[in-house]
Amino acid sequence: MNWKNVLLLVGVDIKSYRVVRGSKFRRFRENKLVTYSLYIGACLIGALIGSLIGNFYSGVSDSALKKLIFDGATYFFIALPTLSLIYGLVFTEMNQIQRIGARTSIQPPYWFPITWKEHTLASILANVLGTPLIITIFLCSSIFVASIFLGLVPLVVLTILALLASIILASATTEIFKALQVRLSGAVTKVAGRVAIWVRLLSSILFFIVFYLIYFSLYYNVTPIALIESIAGGQKALWFIPYVWLGVALSTFISSLWLETIVFLLASFVFIYALFLAAVRLNMRFGLYEAPSIKISRGVYVPKVGLLGRLGFSTVEAAIIRKDFRAFTRRHELMYIFIVPIIFTIMPLILSMRSEAATPLPSGIYSFMFVYLTLLPGTLMAVILGSSIVGSEGERIWYLHSLPLSAKSLVKAKHSFATLFSLVVTLICSVIGGLLIAPSVSMVAIGLIEGVFLVFSLGMVSLTFGIKGADFREFPRPRMIRPIWGLVNMIVSIIAGLAIVSPIIPYGLKLMFETSEGWLKMLITAIMPVCLPEYYLYVAVLISGVIAAIITYVFRKMALNNAEQLLAKAEG
């Protein structure tokens, strides 16, 4: 092992963060003091917090409380290696995802005289730098200073050693995942063939759904103390899993089981070395693996007019809509657009189910949930799509600029895509809501009509700002829209959305709470007219539609103006 090569490669890896951070490359200067100050700052703040805790402990006169703090600290130290492993895994994996997003994954310079062992070790060490190391330094300094007051210095020295080993363990595991992930996705692509695109899209969405389900399940009723207690207690029971051996070694240490401590510590280091060797092997095998290309079409090419053509879209508009549909289903970085409505659908359902298990909810809340499910995900989708659909062109915008494309066609195509896509979401969510909540026919009808109004008009509002504030930069991630215009869009969309639904609100409140009892019913009847006339609903829907049409008309004018400017100013 040539350690100089390892250090050089770590240096290259550190520099790759210039791209991830999106540094300005012209007249680029790097301030090393700023980089190191993060580590020094973490150390100083840690020491300060450690001394505060230590002083507090020293000042406590109540022996029972003192014992409680001492026991708590001991538990905390024992749990730290496993906690460190968890955050180490999260942050090193996030590092990888970020790099893939910024397309700065370091290709091993295989043509240089560098071995795979050196490359793998450098990658593992470089991955630890940044957030994982900052947190570890903070923890190490704080527990070390606190331990002086607590009289636990030997345990803490061992804990610090275990902490450092834990983040290396996490990074080595991430390195293995990285190699396997590339190979696995390649294999899936090969097996899936033409449907690989859909497999990729659906599995990404599924992954996020599962992730959020677990997150919300864990988040509910779990306190940090309970987590530390369960880790400290649980890792002894799970002693056969090598990942908890560092924590087990600390447990045996405080029980004065010296032989077991040495065995578990040594076993941990052997395990880390085994992971390192496995990572080296995998990198040797798959480090230069080229994923197979996704073959989408085979056979004879037949140009089609298609559904869009039959719906009255010109060939230019239909081509752009088709292209955008493919972009949003094939580009990984755009998938969050699908995730947001799904999360907004799942979150209230989980929370309501949890709440219902504790105390039954008033029936009016179910009506509200149906409206929420019908209106929010689709509208949110329209707002996100509208504001990002032009910026998502990214550096490929030159192509639109060079095409004979009028502002009118651009606005029509982009708005139609955002609207059609969002309406599908509205419909799906409404069906889910209908199946779960079984609302009245009138509520379904109102929900869907208002959904169409909101999607149509807010799609245009967002497109207006999406064109005006389009940001075509793609590093370190696709920007889509400049933050200030994103904010303006959000505010205007909320105001416009409220204006559109405002005529319906009195009817909605009446419908939701007429069946409820107690103070809710009293409140509603106090602030609203005693009874709304039968025809109120029709008038309200009509007014709502007129407001939506006016908003769409006004913002379409603005969008056309912005699109003309965009197409005329290709140099940005």
Partner: protein, 257 residues
């Protein structure tokens, strides 16, 4: 050569901050000409091409393409032009076929014609069998082929090619060169920016050498020889002399020490 020029630039200037990319450029190119635009890096070639297409608005001067003022009607100009940029980022989430289908639709090609042209080009440039793959999996040369096809397939009247042959294999490069000559004989004008001087010498009817945004020399290869007073020289020596970078020998000698 017809009387009506395919392109007329009159006093075109473009500045980016302190840098003058194009400095009062006058240029007239006839129909059916293959015109080479040469110059060192940063001499204003790409900016000139972008200005012709209306992608860059000049600070002063006017650009007239095929009788249309670019500023007045950029869409009409774009409809008649095929463009290959220097380093194109294409929709790499589309397949080659989908991208060309998209291009054909945007330029309003009829389905039958579009199908015929796409199939012909895919076959000619050896992309058959890979047309259904996503562009993200293509090599740089294959991406370049797709962009070249997208520029030519709709039968433009003017071709603006910025380093069109970079990354192409010899067979494809030869096909593109022969194709450009055939298109020129049909009256289609090509303006090509390149650093490969042999290609410019072999293909172009006239050559312009740009330097720091200015037009240093313009004419046929024979006229350039006369201007440089180098009657027997090739374009490389003429280029180096005119751009003031001719004395290469001491640099090479210093490198060998």
């Amino acid at each position: 050569m017809a009387h009506l020029p395919a392109l007329k630039l009159t006093g075109v200037s473009k500045r980016y901050g302190d840098v003058t990319a194009v400095d009062y450029l006058d240029l007239e190119i006839g129909k059916g000409e293959i015109f080479g635009l040469l110059g060192p890096n940063g001499s204003g070639k790409s900016t000139t091409l972008k200005t012709i297409l209306g992608l860059v608005k000049p600070d002063s001067g006017s650009v007239n393409v095929l009788g249309i003022n670019v500023e007045d009607n950029p869409i009409a100009v774009k409809r008649k032009v095929g463009y290959v940029p220097e380093s194109p980022r294409v929709y790499d989430f589309l397949t080659g076929l989908e991208f060309l289908d998209f291009t054909g639709d945007v330029y309003g090609m009829q389905p039958d014609e579009k199908k015929k042209r796409i199939e012909e080009f895919l076959r000619a440039l050896d992309l058959e069998g890979r047309e259904g793959d996503m562009i993200s999996s293509y090599s740089e040369g294959m991406k370049q082929k797709v962009v070249i096809i997208s520029a030519i397939m709709h039968k433009p009247e003017l071709l603006l090619l910025d380093e069109p042959l970079s990354g192409l294999d010899p067979k494809s490069a030869r096909i593109v060169k022969d194709l450009l000559r055939q298109l020129a004989s049909q009256g289609i004008t090509t303006i090509m920016s390149t650093h490969i001087l042999e290609i410019a010498q072999a293909m172009c009817d006239r050559i312009a050498i740009m330097y720091e945004g200015r037009l240093l020399a313009l004419g046929t290869i024979e006229e350039l020889r006369q201007k440089a007073k180098m009657p027997e020289s090739g374009l490389e020596d003429i280029f180096l002399k005119l751009t003031g970078t001719g004395d290469i020998k001491p640099i090479v000698e210093a490198l060998l020490k």
